[in-house]
Amino acid sequence: MEERVHIATPDHVSLEFELAGPGSRFSAYVIDFIVNVLLVIAIVLTAYLTGALAALRSLASISAGASASWLWALVVLIIFLINWGYYVFFEGVGKGSTPGKKRMGIRVIRQDGLPIGLREAALRNLVRAADMLPPPSYILGGLVMHFDPHGRRLGDMVAGTYVVVEKFDLAAQGASGAAWAKRVEQGRSRQALTLPRGAISAQQIGLIEQFLARSHELPKERRRQLIWQITEPLLPLLEEDRDSLERSAERTERCERLLLQILDLAQQKTASVAIAPKAPQPSSLF
């Protein structure tokens, strides 16, 4: 089982979720089990007391027996509903969180990153009997979870859901965030860049920006090829030695640094800045 799952959005950005491990999921299960039992006890107790009260009030009345029967019929149905519907209700209404899950900071999401609805909640919980095999050990579900790269039990597969960790506190946004925000803000504008040896068009700069924004999603080899294709035509403008760079062991890293440098230059808006002899080292932040 992997630690994280990436979900591609229609905007071509991947959202990242941390998968919940078996430990926190089991703890959540134990809490939910206890809550479940307490609920049943509370309901039986309430019914018992109301029944006793009703019997006391209408001593010797004929209707008392009939209403008691209906009361217990209701209790039977409610207990059945709690046993099978506890998870369906809480996950379906509470956006994937039961009381136990909330306590453990985990939640169920759909495979496309959206919160689950009643349909998914019903699917993943009504097939629990299979995961529980041999009951009540959850050995089958545990094995499936262990071997699935996304840590899903059988019910998760049927419903198309992941269980993820819900954390983060926005208030914790620190100084590093502020420094980074500046950098991101600067990267926004695109304009043509004129260098002593020629010009780089706004489109080219846009391409570089887009490539850098997406390149982490590419396989390593593909990324190496693409970055070379993008950087190579620009090398004469940057007064870099093409041949030595091509043979360099860390070609990809150096190309990336050059591209970042171009973006930095484009940001400074002054036309004919000489290229710094040495690429600026990334600050500790990056």
Binding site: V13, D112, L114, R119, L123, G177, W180, V184, G187
Partner: protein, 336 residues
Amino acid sequence: MQDAADKLEQWTRFYQRAQTLLRGGRRALRRLSGAELAHLIDEYQALIADLARARSLGAARETVDQLNRIAVAGHNLLYGQIRLRERAAPAYGAASFARLVRKHTWAVALSAMVFFGAALASFVAVQLYPSLGYDLLADEFLDFDPANRDNLHSIPSLARPVVSSLIISNNIQVTLLAFGLGLTAGIGTTVLLLFNGIHLGSVAGWMMLHGKDRALWGWIMPHGGTELLAICLAGAAGYVLAGAIVAPGQVRRSTALKNTGGDALGIELGCMVMLVIAGLIEGFVSPSGIDYPSRIAVLAVSLGIWALYFFGAGLKPVRSAASEPASQPLSSSQGN
């Protein structure tokens, strides 16, 4: 640093706004004006661009995590409200149950074969080898007399609501197991159907052998048609899931399960409704004093209604998702 502070504030503002709107649900989003909505979308797109940039340029882990978190809120807000029609998602309307049952005829046939096959085999076996009855029947059924007024025909009317609700929850539990255990490649479902079929067949065979069959049928008939049909269909729901595991086709098993899960759930939900009906009949009609011909009539009418429903309901093609107006994606219901 002024820019940076602005940026931070912008992110925080977007996050808080998204949280507020998420809490408000669909209605909150619908109250927004077009311009506000467009602005919200712009902000979201700026945010995910920031996220992509932050990630690729290697920002600190917590910064990326926080941006990611805000992006998730925005994503859930904007896309969560659009009804996403999954390919296989059935509309859970009144006719969809019949449509699903017809769609998975093979599973229904298999389930019926196992369940009624086991019943028939054990019925015949008990006729041929009466001593088998001692192995197959639970003890309380050996001396059981369906005609005895103490047990079946005269559940005291006071107890009927409780008996009825017990029967309903017990039967639904059986169908939920038959459905869920389909995930054991159908083995669990098969075992469950065999057990229930053998129980039914051997009791019937035993009563026949001892001349008590008329009373037994009289008791079973009013609710039996609906109840046995429902158990058989629940087995089919289990086999639909099993089909995804045994023969997933071109996709992964987990994907196949996801694709057929909705169908199986639709059948299972239909079975639950059938069992509520059957349980009410079993608790209130079967133990009542109606005569034999009326009992046959109840059976005939219930089977006739189910036949009409399963062969007739929803024959007209459903309006496909594509033919519906796509002009108001945000006003649609249910995030599904």
